[in-house]
Symmetry: C2
Subunit: 392 residues, 2 copies
């Protein structure tokens, strides 16, 4: 008898780990591949202060057994209500990063072979989670205004003709990862209308929502939804620090209850939930977000200016927020061929195919301006330009 | 069309939440029901110090995206190697509390109807997790030397006669929750022999391992296992603070790899894993454990003395460590009847049936000496005595 006999049928074969070597910003080259936070903006002193405050005022609550701090649920729900989302303490779930929610959603919704509609391109972490679940991923193109809702309608109709009712439409409508595009109100309304008509859950990943550089806010799709077809995902990673591993979801109660059940460890820890709530509650978080917007806006402008100067043959669309510039390479240059050449030139970028469920997009690279110091952004783009020109 | 149509078949109906109101120590009565840590022993200053040290030395590593800190994996593995377990950085997995591991194990091993052998009585959290998975739970009695391995053999043989190969034998061999019993070496060897002969995974939950008051350490079952049939669970909850939500598992690589895959959020956070490693690395953790042993030993003695004085008709077995005294009530007194009467007298205790998969054990209550201040333990036992005597 072998131990492996005891594994369930689905667990006999397992895929390789989701993240591999090189799937984070490394120190040896200029790092433009991954959307880590700006290290100079990480709230060092504020975090130590918040820990000390929490432990002084509520040591037993923070360090003993206990649930997610309800005060953080209130903070999270209140931030959503400001934007018109009907969030309550009941329908808001704190998780270990919004990645955990993206990972738990298939446990509630996906049987192998079920269909998930994703943007093309989209967030590679979500693609990996969805693929793990055995889902069939169907891409809908993104243009300068986000997901093409006309193409979405065609896709939904075609699937219906096959007898397929998709389970999820996964969208990043605001400062999309990787394109930076923001979906205007009209498209959001149409997307919601289609989702309801076809009976599909909208997973609105709004990780970058608070990081707007210019222009007016567009209502979240969840704020437009009166019938309970949208789950809205947010994260403290982009507005406080990724390392605290806290995000949240707000959605239909039946779905939130099931996600909470699949979260086998129960809450998200009494300590860090108190620490983040402490930081958020007296206006420090909003002040910090204002500083982040200014900083990331500057870095974005710096990158776009460098691209215009160093790689005039490339095409970009200026994002109104977020972490990324999506760069269309000069004709004939392949992203897959470029990435190792760029690395030889001393800069890391992400090949477009990493962002597509079907591995297309070889004419694009994703550039993150979030992580690398201002002083290195121009140098990084110059190196990338040299690498591109060496391939032309 | 309804949203609920989209849920997978298993997710249509969901059970009530695992933990309910009253499933933690409350402030209004003397709290002897739940095994929370002693609040006066929570490492307040050390924790703030460790956070400051970590953020000073490795801000980007601690607060940006990143995996579980490998330094904590090394700390965890090294603690197991000291006890003869063949732990490496590869076969040791850090989780959000050992509860998360107990929750993930069924995802790898259990299809509905599969059998899990548990001790009778055992840890109620594990029973809830296992029951959730649709497993059939079969209890094997515990006596003053832990699980009765003769009864285990009978059970395994009877199941084999039914054509059933159980998936898991779940045991807490050291300072068992709730009985406090410790399994001697001979029984551990026999349990392992039976597990191998019948091809069943041993889940050795050794949460209380480090909290020995007296007597010599007994080798963990995992240290006796040369054939890869044991997964060993530990936690920082009992030796540092429950609120950091960090535990670990060491076991057969194929099982650890699958648990890591089911842990959809990836690592257990770059920040808290660094903070706990910082505290552990320079001897502070071992010094702290020595203080905890002394404190909990005193509190245990205080409770046993109070029981002898106040409830001489009750029976207890002195534990050699851990958090609990398991009290056999005087003949004719029902734990289920007693709990509300005790609450009226101003003390909370846990009814025995909460610790049995089959809800038997109405002649027992579990008393935790870990949480309540020394000054209140005697008063709590006096109140319990009065409640018991009112029912006799």
């Amino acid at each position: 008898m072998q131990l492996s006999d005891l594994f369930t049928a689905q667990m006999r074969e397992i895929p390789p780990p989701m993240w591999g070597p090189g799937d984070s910003n490394g120190p040896s080259r200029i790092a433009l591949a991954f959307g880590d936070a700006d290290p100079t903006m990480l709230p060092h002193e504020d975090l130590i202060g918040a820990v000390a405050e929490v432990l002084s005022s509520d040591l037993d609550g923070a360090l003993n057994y206990g649930p997610t701090y309800p005060g953080l649920v209130r903070v999270a729900a209140e931030r959503l209500r400001r934007q018109g989302i009907g969030a309550t303490e009941q329908n808001t779930l704190i998780c270990y990063g919004s990645t955990q929610i993206i990972g738990l959603l298939p446990q509630v919704l996906i049987a192998p072979g079920d269909t998930i509609i994703v943007e093309a391109p989209t967030f590679l972490g979500a693609v990996m989670q969805f693929r793990r679940s055995g889902a069939r991923l169907v891409g809908v193109p993104v243009d300068a205004e986000g997901m093409d809702v006309g193409a979405l309608e065609t896709t939904l109709a075609a699937l219906r003709a096959e007898g397929v009712r998709p389970k999820i439409i996964y969208t990043i409508p605001t400062f999309q990862n990787p394109t930076g595009a923001t979906m205007p109100l009209g498209r959001r309304l149409r997307l919601l209308e289609l989702a309801i008509a076809y009976g599909v859950l909208v997973v609105e990943d709004d990780a970058y929502n608070d990081l707007r550089f210019r222009g007016d806010a567009v209502p979240p799709i969840a704020a437009l939804d009166t019938q309970g077809w949208v789950i809205h995902l947010r994260t403290f990673s982009k507005i406080f620090a990724p390392g605290v591993r806290l995000g949240w979801a707000c959605g239909p109660q039946a779905l939130i209850d099931r996600l909470a059940m699949c979260k086998v460890e129960g809450g998200s820890g009494p300590l860090m939930t108190r620490v983040v709530a402490q930081f958020a509650q007296d206006g420090r978080l909003d002040a910090h977000i204002a500083e982040l917007r200014a900083r990331y806006s500057e870095k974005c402008d710096l990158m776009l200016a460098a691209i215009a100067r160093e790689i005039p043959e490339a095409t970009t669309v200026r994002p109104d927020g977020g972490f990324f510039v999506w760069l269309r390479l000069p004709p004939g240059v392949s992203a897959t061929a470029l990435v190792p050449v760029a690395a030889q030139h001393g800069v890391d970028v992400l090949a477009g195919p990493r962002c597509y469920a079907d591995s297309s997009g070889d004419e694009y690279v994703r550039l993150a301006f979030s992580y690398t110091p201002e002083t290195q952004i121009s140098a990084g783009i110059a190196r990338l330009g040299a690498a591109i020109h060496s391939l032309m």
